[in-house]
């Protein structure tokens, strides 16, 4: 009799254990994100940014980072941790950026990075969206008499950054035009600017937004101009590590929320007052309808916090890119409803 009671107790414990394990396992299957857990534990989002590109990610004298890339990280921090300022920024060179991400030193890479097939598929990364549609262009001296890329002749020297897609585009472009050129590739953007300024090269080529931003660093910005042609597609966007789909979704939808908020006219000042709006799409954005946050283990106000603390995409663009004089005209980075190509899937 005693024996059988013992057996029963044992069986009971065993089944309890099994149930517990089963629950743990079930949770892991649906909504467990190691990166999300680690971020919550650490209390900040680990964000990789550039070493200083005005408008995208640039630190002021006090070490405060601003820019539209920085705002992506701030949006993630607002969604996950409730405070957009809880971000730890790591400035990275073009060369270091992917290794820093795959090794776990950072969890989000928001560093004007071009989305390409080989980067997406080959080296353990996942691009989550596009926060700036850019294209590669050329800057020349106004006095040079070069008014279009058709004025380039054999022997022209072009300065650029190493470790970027610009080096490849430059070759494709000059090859297609059958022009012999001298490529001079520097590791850091500051040296490119100095060398171009000193006359080492006749033209400086990189993404047009970069050209506009770097032009301000030249000794006489007014003596230089950006040629009208765009020679490549450069969709720039945030990147995460492959293999954590929940984290990937959080970053993707943090960015999408900013763009969708602009589409529906929700901004940092009116967001909380729109809780009782008639439009269900707006209500979903400000967390007054649906259970969207639950889909990746967040509360329902995650998107409201993004809009309140960071603002919508239009606000971010105006503050960092337009008002700083880098690219006042939004061009392709306008909403699809206003003639641009910014179009995000609906948040529902």
């Amino acid at each position: 009799m005693i024996k059988s009671i013992k057996t029963w107790i044992l069986v009971g414990f065993a089944s309890l254990l099994l149930v517990a394990c089963g629950q743990g396992g079930g949770g892991a299957g649906s909504k467990k994100s190691k990166t999300l857990d680690n971020t919550k534990k650490a209390g900040f989002v680990k964000c990789g940014v550039s070493q200083g590109l005005p408008g995208f990610s640039n630190a002021d004298e006090a070490g405060n980072w601003t820019g539209i890339d920085v705002d992506v990280c701030r949006a993630v921090a607002a969604a996950v941790l409730g405070d957009a300022d809880k971000v730890k920024y790591t400035p990275l060179s073009a060369k270091e950026r992917f290794t820093a991400l795959t090794s776990g030193e950072i969890d989000v890479l928001a560093r004007n990075t071009t989305w390409t097939l080989s980067r997406d598929a080959d080296i353990g990364l996942t691009f989550v969206g596009v926060n700036f549609y850019d294209g590669q262009g050329f800057m020349v001296r106004k006095a040079s008499g070069i008014n279009s890329v058709n004025d380039f002749r054999d022997g022209i020297s072009a300065c650029t950054n190493t470790g970027t897609t610009t080096e490849l585009n430059m070759r494709d472009f000059f090859n297609s035009k059958n022009i012999k050129y001298e490529p001079i590739a520097f590791e850091k953007a500051d040296e490119v600017v100095q060398a171009y300024d000193a006359g080492r090269c006749d033209t400086y080529t990189t993404d047009k937004s970069g050209l506009a931003a770097q032009r301000t660093k030249l000794s006489n910005p007014d003596e230089h101009k950006v040629l009208p042609e765009t020679i490549s597609k450069e969709p720039l966007g945030p990147v995460v590590r492959q293999g954590d789909s929940v984290w990937e979704d959080i970053v993707r939808w943090s960015l999408n929320t900013m763009i969708e908020a602009e589409e529906y006219g929700v901004n940092s000042s009116n967001a909380s007052s729109l809780k009782d709006s008639d439009n269900p799409a707006i209500k979903r954005l400000v967390g007054a309808e649906g259970e969207l946050g639950a889909a990746f283990g967040l509360d329902n106000d995650w998107s409201l916090r993004i809009i309140e603390q960071v603002g919508n995409y239009g606000e971010s663009y105006k503050k960092h890119i337009a008002d700083t004089g880098i690219l006042p005209n939004r061009g392709p980075n306008e909403l699809w409803t206003k003639g641009g190509i910014l179009y995000v899937p609906p948040a529902r």
Binding site: G124, R153, G163, G199
Partner: protein, 392 residues
Amino acid sequence: MNLKNLKLNLSNKNKDLIPQILTVLFLILVVIYFTINAQSNMGNRGISFGFGFLSQESSFDITFSLIDYDGSHTYARAFLVGLLNTILVSAIGIFFATILGVTIGIARLSQNYLVAKSAEWYVEIFRNIPLILQIFFWYFAALRALPLTVDSINFYDISFLNVKGWYVPKFVWTNFSIFIYSIIFAFILIYFLSKYAQNQRDKFGKQIPTLYISILLIIGLPFLTFLIGGVSLSFEIPELTQLSKTVYVYRGGVSIIPELISLALALSMYTATFIAENVRAGILGVSKGQKEAAASIGLTKGQILKLVVMPQALRIIIPPTTNQYLNLTKNSSLAAAIAYPDIVLVFAGTALMQTGRAIEIISITMLTYLSLSLSISVFMNWYNKKMAIKEK
């Protein structure tokens, strides 16, 4: 008795051996652990490992290459371009650092106060400023100071210096191989001549003016090929071409890019300070008695330097100078900062970025520097052995 001793010895030896074997085993385990760790982590993150990318088309261009290269060649070829550029700048750097270093080192021992003091100041200034700053200084100072292409500094209408580089005439040879053979032949003759001269000196005490005959041979033989071998040489002089209203470029000739000039300059000026100190130490390390003894047996000043002081000084100079050569070679990797396309910029920079294969590329680059340094080391050790005292 004997047997017992032997046993004891063996066990002693074993005792020494066991910790060594354990250490080696431990090291092997550590390496295996890290390899497996890296492999599993890369596997988890969906990163593949392999060297297949080396045969893919690189699709980026390089400013300056000693071999035929453009973006349609492979990554392996790009690696070779970078390696050759590293070797080139190191070789130029070592050459000038040695000349400058020896000159400064001797100047520091000069009786002339001004010469000795200037040499001392040179050493103290250039060895105490970080090399990267010196490289930036020479590069950007040179770029700022040099004129634009259209106002180039003109050397007798054959060579031009401007912000885009130094343009020199290109040699255009006919029957170049005959010319090279004549030089090789001259070297072989000189080798036998020196053997013969040594023989004569050892046997009969006769001095043959080897140096003058050698110079005559090395100039005379190639010169003869011009007269009777059908060798001829012409120059392709760089020509100024206008590309647009204010953009000019020199076409033809050979262009030495400013990146190479400033990097070689910075490397040799920096390393020369250390070599100068080695040279000074070497000369001071030979005791005065040696010189006095040599003088007392009637050797001339030149002979004392050549036969008594230098052989002993070199023994002190060579080992630390080897270190400086190695340092210079490794320091050349700072080239990346000023866009000189060395192996770090081209391979561990652009190629790494385009392929994303960090572990493979960094391992290859490290192995390359290791082999470069070891080759220099092997050569210098051989030279050192040659110069060392041979005890009889």
